[in-house]
């Protein structure tokens, strides 16, 4: 059974349509990440699910109930915001119990739930402090705690870690993942533009661009079998290499051709029947390019070497264009050196040059 179901939803700001007939089903207990560049509509979608934004058309179902016209508080959701949105004149305890007080929960019950959430998030010593006496990481913990006490079936996160520094972001990311595992059947919908967060947290990622869903899939699917050029380019750092060329039938099956280089595609799992002579874009992850003296593509010159500790990124080029190669950290070629690259046709992605869709 799905806990959150967005059915043909259209959202319009004044006369501008933001979404047009968008649908999405989220299973119970699932961790869904909405990923996309800013302005892609991911936060708008989250606000529509929360009921903070009226939909113009379509329905929103939560826990088997049509909540399209319900107030946010009646939807069984909790939400965590990027700016924490803690009430500045209340202390942590009051912040966490505000929603329960509004719902007229009996006092002992409020105290029990606040204590439990505070313990889970290790913020018990902070309960009597005011938000301005807390650090960024502590504030976000409190914000998560405020969501926790609501005992909601669905948690909505709107870029909760974007205001934190890198180290805290990593810590809290792991904590959120742990929390999801510990809560068991709680569904989480998480909006971010950070692909690392998306890859590490999600059961399924929804990649969005220009108010449209580009691909829905597990992190593995998104990473290894991107549905189009946008997804391929947006997910992964350093970015996937794109090489423009065309397909040609060479007796022993289809091959990819660019300049005088070719790559036999005998093992490539086509999902759309290709035609010979078609213009295509070959996508290769930097880590799938291998430096090997027995490689099939010789004649690349090293431009720049970026040592990153655990691995090294090598920018190299030939007459056709430039590619990035990710290799182990110990390998440090010098600029100007000539390299031969090896690549495996089963690990590449092919896209139609005109539509950008995966072949």
């Amino acid at each position: 059974m799905s806990t959150v179901s967005v059915r043909d939803v259209t959202v319009a700001f004044e006369s501008v349509q933001v979404f047009d007939g968008l649908s999405l089903d989220i299973q119970e207990g699932e961790f869904i990440v909405l990923l996309g560049p800013s302005g892609c509509g991911k936060s708008t979608l989250l606000n529509a699910i929360a009921g903070l934004l009226d939909v113009a058309e379509g329905q929103i179902w939560i826990n088997g109930k049509n909540v399209t016209w319900e107030e946010p508080k009646d939807r069984g959701i909790a939400m965590v915001f990027q700016s924490y949105a803690l009430y500045p004149r209340m202390n942590v305890r009051e912040n966490m119990s505000f929603g329960l007080k509004m719902a007229k929960t009996p006092r002992p019950e409020i105290e029990k739930r606040v204590a439990k959430a505070a313990e889970l998030l290790q913020i018990t010593p902070l309960l009597d402090r005011r938000p301005d006496q807390l650090s960024g990481g502590q504030r976000q913990r409190v914000a998560i705690g405020r969501a926790l006490v609501r005992d909601a079936a669905v948690f909505l996160f709107d870029e909760p870690l974007s205001n934190l520094d890198a180290k805290l972001r990593n810590e809290l990311r792991i904590e959120i993942k742990r929390l999801h595992a510990r809560l068991g059947k709680t569904t989480m919908v998480y909006v971010t533009h950070d692909q690392i967060e998306a890859m590490t947290l999600a059961d399924r990622i929804v990649v969005m661009k220009e108010q449209k869903i580009q691909q829905i899939g597990t992190p593995d699917e998104i990473y290894h079998r991107p549905a189009n050029l946008f997804v391929a380019g947006f997910v992964g750092s350093p970015q996937m290499n794109f090489i423009k060329g065309r397909l040609e039938n060479t007796g022993e099956g289809l091959s990819f051709l660019v300049g005088n280089r070719r790559l036999s595609l005998s093992g490539y799992p086509f999902i759309v029947a290709p035609s010979s002579g078609q213009d295509v874009v070959l996508g290769v992850r930097p880590e799938h390019l291998e430096i090997s003296s027995t490689g099939i593509w010789p004649g690349f010159t090293v431009d720049i070497v970026e040592p990153m500790g655990a691995d090294t990124v090598i920018w190299c080029s030939d007459t056709v264009g430039s590619v990035q190669v990710r290799t182990s950290g110990s390998r440090r070629p010098t600029p100007g050196e000539s390299l031969t690259l090896q690549l495996d046709p089963t690990q590449v992605s092919l896209f139609a040059a005109d539509s950008g869709e995966r072949l």
Partner: protein
């Protein structure tokens, strides 16, 4: 060639230009303080001394007689009860007017910036337009409306007038301040189940201290200094201090009592003065807080 190695704090030089600037500032300050000085010294002199004409001189025989007279026995037309009557009238007008107009402005600003009411921008525009139309245009129609509804010449009437005419500025002030608060706070409160009033009183109002101070200062001084509304709408029983002051200064029998006039004027100016001195720091801070975003 200078042999001094630049190091640490840059040395400060007192240049001729700077001395000129300070001289100008001090002169300007003295110039603007002069009227206050004359008022204070005149109010402390007996009439015999004033007749001598040395208006800048300190009183040789200091007396608070003029102040006492101004407060309790100066004549405002036929009655001779001093300006104290006007003081208490002004207070009775001021307190409800300030509280009600600020509350109305705060609620308006809150609704306009957070609840996205349909036609909110149009409503706000019309409200602001009202602030630019001269008051005199409203006087006659308002007098007719109030006399038809039977509340003309009463405390209710004058308070209502102050609330109505305070709305545009108060709404503008609060709307701009609230526009600067993060909208996510409001969203969080809605998810927590707050309604229109509970979000306003429990979340938004507690965060409004700086702008409340600004609004209070603006309204206290504005309403205290009002003359024309008080004269037109308050009725004989409730004439505010400003009107009483005018009556004292203008109704002279025989010799003009300059010392009493000065004392009465300063008594009338006391409330706004106190408000400025007490809250000047807050005032500047709040103005800035309200002005940054909007």
């Amino acid at each position: 060639m200078s042999t001094v190695v630049p190091q640490g704090r840059r040395p400060q030089h007192l240049t001729i230009g700077r001395i000129g600037v300070y001289a100008f500032l001090v002169t300007a300050a003295l110039f603007f303080l002069l009227p206050l000085w004359i008022m204070v010294v005149t109010s402390l002199k007996p009439m015999e001394e004033i007749r001598l004409g040395n208006i800048l001189a300190l009183p040789s025989a200091m007396t608070f007689e003029a102040w006492a007279k101004a407060w309790s026995s100066a004549c405002t037309g036929l009655e001779c009860n001093g300006i104290s009557v006007g003081f208490w009238n002004s207070m009775r007008i001021l307190i409800p007017s300030v509280i009600l107009s600020i509350m109305a402005g705060a609620i308006n600003g809150y609704a306009l910036s957070f609840w996205r009411v349909k036609g909110a921008n149009l409503m706000f525009g019309v409200l602001l337009l009202g602030a630019f139309i001269p008051y005199q245009v409203f006087l006659y129609p308002l007098v007719r409306i109030f006399s038809l509804s039977g509340i003309y010449n009463s405390l209710t009437c004058i308070v209502l007038v102050h609330v109505i005419f305070g709305l545009p500025t108060m709404t503008l002030l609060f709307r701009n301040y609230y526009a600067g608060l993060p909208i996510e706070l409001f969203k969080a409160a809605r998810i927590d189940g707050g309604g229109f009033w509970s979000i306003f009183f429990r979340v938004i109002l507690p965060m409004s201290t700086p702008i409340l101070v600004v609004a209070t200062i603006l309204q206290v001084t504005g309403i205290w200094n009002d003359f024309i509304f008080g004269l037109t709408f308050a009725g004989r029983e409730n004439l505010p201090m400003t009107v009483q002051l005018n009556n004292i200064v203008n109704s002279t029998q025989g010799e003009r009592a300059y010392n009493v006039d000065m004392a009465a004027t300063m008594l009338a100016a006391l409330v706004p003065l106190v408000v400025y001195f007490v809250s000047g720091r807050w005032f500047v801070r709040g103005i800035a807080a309200g002005a940054v975003k909007g």
